[in-house]
Amino acid sequence: MPTLRTLSTELVVQQRELMATLLNELSPNADTRSGPLHDYLVKPHGTLAAYRRTELEEMRYGLSLLLAQANPDIVSAEQVDLILGNYLLTRLPGVASTGSVVIVVTRPITVSVPAGGTFVANGRTFKAVSPFIGLPPGEVALGQFERVMTQRTDGFYSFTVEVECTENGPAGQLPKDALLVPSFPIMALLKAYAASDFSSGAATESNEQLLSRQVSGIAAKAASGRFNCTAAILNDEAFERLLAISIIGYGDAEMRRDTRALLPVQMGGRSDWYVRLTRLPTRTTAVHEASLVEKTADGFGIWQVVFTRDSYPGFYDVPKIIRKSDEGAQGTYAITSLEHGLDDSYIENELTPDLPSTIDGTFTRYQTGVLRFKDTDTATASLTVNSSKRDYLITVRHVPDIVTLQTAVGSRRFAYPGGDILIKAPVPCFVSVAFKVQGRPRADLPDEAALKAAVADYVNTTGFPGRLFAAKILEVIGNFLGSSVYVQYVDMRGEILSPDGRVVHLHSTQVLEIPDDYENMMTGRTVVFYLDPEDVVVSGLTQSQPVLL
């Protein structure tokens, strides 16, 4: 509600002038400059008219989410929720990150984790979702909370417990192997670490986020225009937290799938949807049996693993390969090749898209792969090529949700007759950001974990921007800095995994810009920036300032 003090002076003057002029014209002898008519009519009426007009104007702000967002002091959150009602939307609540923690103990003894027992990692607190009891190998678990330990290859024992972050939001998403420190005693504890990437939590939906999906509330949920296609996806609970979508179609230079007929011209009828459902791709580690395919002169060999289209849908890369017997070891064997393939065989009850070329299936659920790497620890003198096999722990970055999404858009309920929609994981640009903060002696340097999380969160929610500006990252960092702490520089590096298998390197202290490569369907409309908080490097120091007095 406006107050008399905050009214626009121009409006108040206009209203008073109007009243005074009217009065003068109707009663030319009336004194409107001073006296009772001025004090009791012109002045209060003009002011109150201005007040009421301002009040009406502010009511108008409450009809538009855009105006509501621009005037947060005027339009309350309750009013915003009322606007949302008109668009058939409700604000999405916050969700906490959850995941499994591996508890490693040195001896096979019974240990317990109390319900709500907390762990700390990356500046966040995680609590056990229930009581857990770890039992030595050989014992029998009697309930869902009892876990029998397994002996590890390093001779220790481990069991897993489930935890969730005590705060909603994506900052609680721990990467695989992140160490957690329990704030209660666990007997014979060696370490506790994340078994796999934690699920991405989400903060309560902000007005800005609501603004971006407002149109989806009223849009027909159908395979029609681009707004409608997006609305149809968001209408499915499984995808309501979709972060970004870029729909490529007829006439877009990135559409190559429909140009592979006799005439080298786009034919239409095809659509590629680049969809980002999570902040980061999923990292999954699993045991794979590899075949020896080549012996090398140094006595070792090249090993091969084949990924089917269901192994790691839309996989990007393979960051880590170690022997199964070396579980827990750092480092990775070098990849000699990772060839993308295609399996577009028919899937029951789904409309399988037309994929005339292998590159058309890259980063889709139809992608297959042949991974070859060199194991520099296993001697191959006594082994046989194409016959000998070994188990390896392989970590893959992939986008599993594209399977369910491809199934959804290819379903009888969604697909348009004769339609052809291909869901693609975005072309990834893996970013690392480094910056140095510098402050005066005794200045409070910012919380590193929170700072990393904020920078990563910004980058991971930029959608399909085409460019990543250091200036925007500086803005994010600036929110964490006190008055006597400054940023010295921001260094950004990016690695784009091109669908043709190349890696395109970007480096800048100002802006990372996605180059256009239409043949490989790589442009600002298909590439997203991924930034793992682990890849944010912050260094800080305090430094004396010149003494002036």
Binding site: T21, V215, R226, A253, Q266, Y518
Partner: protein, 503 residues
């Protein structure tokens, strides 16, 4: 009862009613005239609140959302020192030979006021010297003009010369330094971005300049999004961007066609205004269907039957459609073109025909067509072979001698997923905003395309070249591309058709 402005204008309206409510004393009171005047003043001032209230209510409905905010009365104070003469500037669209010189003041427009306000004034029909007596009323187009873009008010007469305008002296340090006149702007329309801020932003229409045409753009997109995209939504959007009206309701009957400051088509329900250059395509007595076009300024073509629109001279397709190996566009002309036959290229007969554009691009195109044909063991030449069950590679004798490239393109590619619209650029309406056509991409299903043809007409100037001893006619054509619209097949113009003929 819902209050209305009519009630305020009624002689028995609020002032008299309020007097009755006030009680019998005020009817006998000696100063009852003053009391009545006061109530009249309050009533008139209240009218603006009704306007504001109605606008707020209308903002809640996408069809009723007001384009502008209306101020019944707005006082504009003009200082004598602020009145300036109008100086003609280059690039403001003057006509050569109209007697004005760039950089030199226009003697006909001596009194220019620059408006400075938080909200932009959009329309101003009247300027009054007072609120109730109508001593001096200036009308837009007669007594003054208003330029919305520059927020410049050009007065034919000096308000300081008209005693009807109230004025006062401006003092500084006790001395008169200037004089101020008061102009009452009546029924002025202000751009508060209602359409953009309440509905346009939903669809990314954040750069809309408020106008009725802009509102039609928003309505077209809104209805396409809410109800799903139909042909009508796409046509409405293009028509709104071009500010060329379509028939509003079914069954309208044309009653009159008038040439008056443009072309007017008058039906029994609506009046449609078009550019002077428009050729009206309906006649008096015609019964019209909803959404049809009325002139040659805007046309829609359905290509699904493979028919070639005679109005199009060529269709050009750009590298987005062709692929990254091309330098520029390729033009498929709407005229019979000889089929070029080359036997024995990679073991098969290669065929091609002339395509406009960068010659190496055309060469790349035909090489690729043949390469793909050879790879697939079915070349274009084999497909065009006129013989039944041909035993060998075709020769010129068994192939059509000519091909219409545009027909070829439509029948083999565009007919399946494309439609086309033709806009003659010289017939755009005053509020046309061609850049907004990029939003067709948002409402069009991504698997279909729209061929948008923005046609720039040629003009001919006779020129005499020395030593030639003849008149020579030069035809000029300008290429007009839709820079912001990158979804669909392409734009095409008569550029490239430019001829230079000697008479």
């Amino acid at each position: 009862m819902t209050p209305s402005l009519a009630a305020f204008d009624d002689r028995s309206g609020p002032p008299s009613q309020l007097m009755r409510i006030a009680g019998a004393f005020w009817r006998m009171y000696g100063g009852r005239g003053t009391a009545h005047d006061i109530l009249s003043c309050v009533s008139i001032a209240e009218q603006q609140l009704l306007v504001d209230q109605q606008e707020v209510a209308d903002c809640g409905n996408y069809l009723r959302v007001p384009v502008f905010h209306r101020e019944r009365w707005w006082k504009l104070s003009v200082r004598k020192s602020q009145l300036r003469r109008r100086v003609v500037e280059y690039g403001e669209g003057r006509t050569y030979g109209d007697g004005l010189l760039y950089g030199v003041a226009d003697d006909n427009v001596r009194h220019v006021v620059d408006l400075v306000a938080e909200n932009k004034l959009a329309e101003l029909p009247m300027i009054c010297s007072d609120l109730t007596r109508a001593e001096t009323i200036w009308f837009e187009g007669i007594d003054f003009s208003f330029d919305r873009a520059s927020q410049e008010l050009s007065l034919l007469r000096d308000p300081f010369d008209d005693p009807a305008f109230k004025r006062s002296s401006v003092y500084e340090n006790g001395e008169i330094v200037d004089e101020e006149a008061y102009l009452w702007l009546h029924q002025s329309q202000w751009d508060r971005g209602f359409v953009r801020d309440h509905y346009g932003y939903l669809f990314g229409l954040n750069d809309l300049v408020s106008s009725e045409a802009a509102k039609r753009i928003v309505v077209a997109v809104y209805e396409a999004v809410v109800g799903g995209t139909g042909r009508g939504s796409v046509e409405d959007l293009i028509a709104a961007c071009a500010d060329i009206p379509l028939v509003k309701t079914a069954g309208e009957v044309v009653e009159e066609i008038i040439s008056l400051d443009g072309k007017l088509v008058v039906t029994d329900k609506n009046v449609y205004r078009f550019s002077e250059a428009a050729t009206v395509s309906v006649a008096v007595g015609d019964v019209l269907e909803e959404g049809r076009t009325l002139t040659d300024g805007l046309k829609f073509f359905r290509l699904n039957r493979g028919e070639t629109p005679a109005e199009l001279a060529a269709i050009t397709i750009n590298p987005d459609i062709l692929g990254p190996d091309y330098f520029g566009t390729l033009a498929f002309y709407n005229q019979d073109t000889p089929l070029v036959v080359e036997p024995g290229v990679d073991g098969k007969t290669k065929v091609s025909f002339y395509l406009g554009g960068f010659p190496p691009d055309a060469e790349t195109f035909w090489k690729e067509v043949h390469r793909r044909g050879v790879a697939a063991d079915q070349t274009l030449g084999e497909l065009l072979d006129l013989r039944d069950n041909p035993p060998d590679q075709p020769t010129a004798a068994s192939l059509p001698p000519t091909v219409n490239p545009m027909t070829f393109l439509i029948q083999n590619i565009l007919r399946f997923h494309s439609t086309a619209a033709l806009v003659r650029m010289n017939q755009l309406g005053p509020a046309a905003d061609i850049a907004q056509m990029r939003h067709v991409r948002a409402i069009l299903p991504p698997w279909v395309g729209l061929l948008l043809v923005l046609l720039a007409e040629t003009s001919a100037d006779p020129v005499t070249i020395s030593d030639l001893e003849t008149d020579t006619e030069a035809n000029y054509a300008s290429l007009t591309t839709d820079a912001g619209y990158d979804t669909d097949v392409d734009t095409t113009t008569r550029a490239g058709q430019t001829t230079f003929t000697c008479q």
